[in-house]
């Protein structure tokens, strides 16, 4: 190969040039091709991103205002932690942050129209909201990545009167480490997660289980827990 024949002065210079050329051919070109391919893939993955808030930033998880984090608590998705904040578009065309509802107990329900257990538990949520909204309870239906074409008729049929927010790109669901649908967070007036329910909220079953027949439903237990926590002074909507 030419770059090994560097036995004379002139040839040595030529050999150096060949090394540079060889480097370009063997390293720079392949790297350029890989970067180009990665760029195309990135473009394909990220084009048509219409999940953008009026502020210009994409809808999704938001850094929570430190003033809204009670002393000694951390932001997270486990019980006893402060629920992560988000900014999402709502079904009625507006947008909401979770911290807008600070001061109210919140039932945050992740759902989708295609999710059969979500459909199953939906009447319970509708009834609970109708029953407790006068007492300050907020129910948020956080739809996972569907369009208004699908959500609106569903919400109408099921009589959903509470806010429905749309997590179009799944960013907020990822922030909440969502493993499946439905998942329901019971968040007290101070933004602290009191309980998390993964799976459908069980209604009273028509069976021979006496405890099941006389006991409270999962939803009622969760609501009781967050309604029992008073709002700390100064707790109010953020953002």
């Amino acid at each position: 190969m030419s770059d090994t024949a560097n036995t004379g002065d002139g040839i040595a210079t030529r050999g150096s040039r060949m090394n540079a050329r060889s480097f370009i051919r063997r390293v720079v070109y392949p790297v350029a091709v890989i970067v180009a391919i990665a760029g195309v893939i990135w473009w394909i993955e990220n084009r048509n991103n219409d999940s953008v808030a009026p502020s210009g930033s994409e809808y999704g998880a938001r850094q929570i205002d430190p003033k809204l984090v009670p002393d000694g608590l951390e932001v997270g998705t486990e019980e006893g932690q402060v629920a992560p904040d988000f900014e999402l578009e709502s079904l009625d065309g507006g947008e909401s942050w979770l911290t807008d509802f600070r001061g109210h107990p919140v039932v945050l329900n992740f759902w989708a129209t295609w999710c059969q257990p979500c459909r199953q538990e939906m009447p319970q949520l509708v009834n609970a909201y109708d029953r407790y909204k006068a007492d300050g309870l907020v129910v948020i239906g956080l739809n996972l990545q569907e369009g208004k074409d699908l959500i609106t008729p569903f919400a109408t049929d099921y009589g959903i009167g509470y806010p429905v927010l749309i997590d179009r790109d799944g960013d907020t669901s990822d922030e909440y480490h969502l493993l499946g649908l439905p998942t329901t967070y019971f968040i007290d007036a101070n933004g602290v997660i009191q309980s998390v329910y993964r799976g459908p909220l069980q209604d009273k079953q028509q069976d021979t289980n006496v405890q099941g027949a006389i006991g409270e439903t999962d939803l009622q237990q969760g609501i009781d827990k967050i309604m029992a926590v008073p709002a700390a002074s100064g707790a109010s909507g953020g953002s």
């Binding site: 090994t4 024949a5 036995t7 051919r25 063997r26 993955e45 990220n46 048509n48 219409d50 999940s51 989708a112 129209t113 295609w114 059969q116 459909r119 199953q120 939906m122 009447p123 509708v126 109708d130 996972l144 990545q145 569907e146 369009g147 208004k148 074409d149 699908l150 049929d157 099921y158 009589g159 749309i166 997590d167 179009r168 790109d169 799944g170 669901s173 990822d174 969502l178 493993l179 499946g180 649908l181 209604d203 009273k204 079953q205 028509q206 069976d207």
Partner: protein, 587 residues
């Protein structure tokens, strides 16, 4: 192997220099690696290893995808292999022989083969291209003595005539006259040298396609009811799509074999409708690299909605897949005037004990306010009997029939054709009326006289085809003491809950696949076919000639399978050389 004319006559100094350079190269680790990957023997070793391991992967059963990752399932699967492999099962599992293609070392071997092939292409291409674009037009005299194909004669060939012969054989000819000698260089199909590179590139592309498939391929089966929507990805994905089954069609042969499936789909990309298309088994609907194949059809679905009449809200809406079967008597009832009053399977949802015997019983309302009840003994010995009893007196119809029997009673002609399997299912999450316990609970659903899903009722759009024998009938057991029977569009209200049988619906099994290696496989297949065709069929030739007034020397290169020495003699003969025709042996 062809002798390289450029290697003819290196000086001893140059040889020492090359040797020293090679030593330096091997000391430099990067160059040593480069040398290894450009080494043909190493490449052959890699390919042989790949072939051997792939053979093992084919001959040894591989752990199914559905089992992998679950320790319990894996152990159960391994237990089933003990019968075949005995005490070797555990060591084979430890060595990864049941998951050959998932092993890291297999991936590394593939990567090494790609690198080796790539290195081969990169290292050989400059030389080959130089050979094509700047061929060596003169060779040392010694080459005429050692070339793999050569011809020498103590006579001078007519140079112009030889040039003519070469051009007639599609050679490009270059001529140099110098110091009493004429040198010719003739080249034919010089680009064919790229055939080998093309074949190597094909190997790279094939392996890359396997890697792409391994890393990037996606496959998700969906089972959709008409009007329902499912996401392509299980939970959350930045490129989430949903697919709605707008309509499903199927056609069946008289023997019940499916003839054709089709599904009309609506595809949503992150909530926005982006495509409407039809999908079949062989012609998938495609969007954004994802192919939506129809792989299954199921015709026995019933869409039921339950509305709370106090609020007007829907509290339940599901399309139930009635995948179980309930044997039910199929009857035909005609009136005096021959009009068909009832034809189809009669569901017997109730259990009635008369004291003498236990029966499964059902009811059917005929046009003209007549009602028939049907009873079937709930014991094995009489289960082929059907009792027809019309409440009332006088001319009421009363009959006991066996399968295949027809009787006349009460002005009706009643035929019992035999038992028919009626699609059924139990759903555990149905809102129940307060009188049935309230909350949610179980109810039995049976769908008789189905419109879709059988050869008898054919397929297609319900409004076009319809049921051959009237509307489907949904019988619900568990809402109230009596069974509830609904036709499509009918509703009944029980304790403030309105139960509505919206329609019989069909299901389609849609398999969503993405395999971006498809195009790579096609490119690789094209490259290897073209590369091999060029290598084996394009008659590439290269010839050098030195002609003096007293001597002619020809030397040439060709693929090893060609008898180029004979071609050289033929060309020399055609140019006027005195060579007997019968001489045809190789030198």
């Amino acid at each position: 192997m062809e002798a390289n004319p450029s290697s003819a006559g290196p000086t001893s100094k140059a040889l020492r220099s090359q040797s020293w350079s090679r030593t330096l190269n091997l000391v430099n680790p990067l160059r040593a690696v480069w040398w290894l990957f450009t080494n043909v023997r190493f490449a052959i070793l890699l390919l042989a290893l790949l072939a051997a391991i792939s053979l093992v992967g084919v001959l040894v059963p591989q752990m199914p995808v559905t089992v992998r990752g679950d320790q319990g399932l894996e152990q159960n699967w391994l237990d089933t292999q003990h019968g075949r492999f005995g005490f070797l099962t555990s060591p084979m599992h430890d060595a990864g022989l049941f998951e050959v293609f998932q092993q890291r070392w297999f991936g590394l071997l593939l990567a090494a083969t790609v690198v080796s092939s790539g290195a081969y292409v990169i290292s050989r291409f400059p030389g080959i291209w130089a050979s094509i674009s700047r061929p060596r037009k003169r060779v040392p005299d010694r080459y005429f003595e050692m070339a793999p194909a050569r011809y020498q004669a103590d006579e001078a060939l007519n140079v112009e005539r030889l040039e003519g012969v070469l051009r007639a054989r599609r050679y490009k000819v270059y001529r140099t006259d110098e110091a009493g000698a004429t040198y010719l260089f003739a080249d034919r199909f010089q680009l064919a040298q790229l055939g080998t590179l093309l074949t190597h590139i094909a190997v790279i592309v094939f392996i890359l396609s396997a890697v792409v498939q391994r890393v990037d391929a996606y496959d998700s089966p969906l089972f959709l009811a008409e009007g329902s929507t499912l996401p392509v990805f299980a939970v959350s994905n930045p490129n989430q799509m949903q697919v709605t089954l707008d309509n499903a069609y199927a056609k069946f042969a008289p023997d019940g074999q499916p003839l054709d499936y089709r599904a009309d789909l609506i595809i949503y990309d992150r909530g926005t409708e982006v495509k409407r298309c039809s999908s079949t088994v062989n012609t998938p609907c495609t969007y954004n690299g994802y192919h939506f194949y129809q792989e299954a059809y199921f015709g026995y679905g019933a869409t039921l909605s339950v509305r709370d009449t106090s609020t007007g809200n829907i509290v339940y809406r599901e399309t139930l897949a009635l995948a179980d079967k309930s044997p039910s008597p199929r009857v035909k009832v005609t009136g005096d005037d021959g009009s068909v009053l009832l034809e189809g399977a009669v569901v017997l949802p109730e259990s009635v004990n008369t004291g003498d015997a236990a029966y499964r019983a059902g009811i059917a309302h005929l046009p003209g306010d007549r009602t028939l009840t049907f009873w079937q003994p709930d014991n094995a010995s009489d289960s082929d009997k059907l009792v027809v009893f019309e409440p009332g007196s006088g001319d009421a119809a009363r009959a006991t029939l066996s399968a295949g029997q027809t009787v006349q009673s009460g002005g009706l002609t009643i035929s019992y054709e035999g038992l028919e399997d009626v699609p059924s299912i139990v759903d555990d999450a149905v809102p129940l009326p307060a009188s049935a316990g309230g909350g949610t609970g179980s109810a039995l659903f049976e769908l008789s006289n189905v419109a879709f899903g059988t050869a008898r009722t054919s397929a297609g759009d319900y409004s076009d085809e319809g049921a051959a024998t009237g509307d489907p009938t949904l019988t619900i057991v568990g809402l109230q003491p009596q069974a509830t029977t609904l036709k499509p569009g009918e509703a009944t209200t029980i304790d403030g809950l309105e139960y509505k049988f919206e329609r019989q619906a069909e299901f389609a099994g849609i398999d969503v696949r993405r395999d971006r290696s498809d195009s790579l496989v096609w490119i690789g297949a094209f490259a290897i076919v073209v590369g091999l065709a060029i290598t084996f069929w394009v008659p590439r030739r290269r010839l050098w000639a030195k002609i003096t007034s007293a001597r002619t020397a020809l030397a040439g290169q060709s693929p090893s399978h060609a008898n180029y020495s004979r071609e050289l003699r033929d060309m020399a003969r055609a140019a006027g050389a005195n060579i007997p025709e019968e001489v045809d042996d190789d030198e």
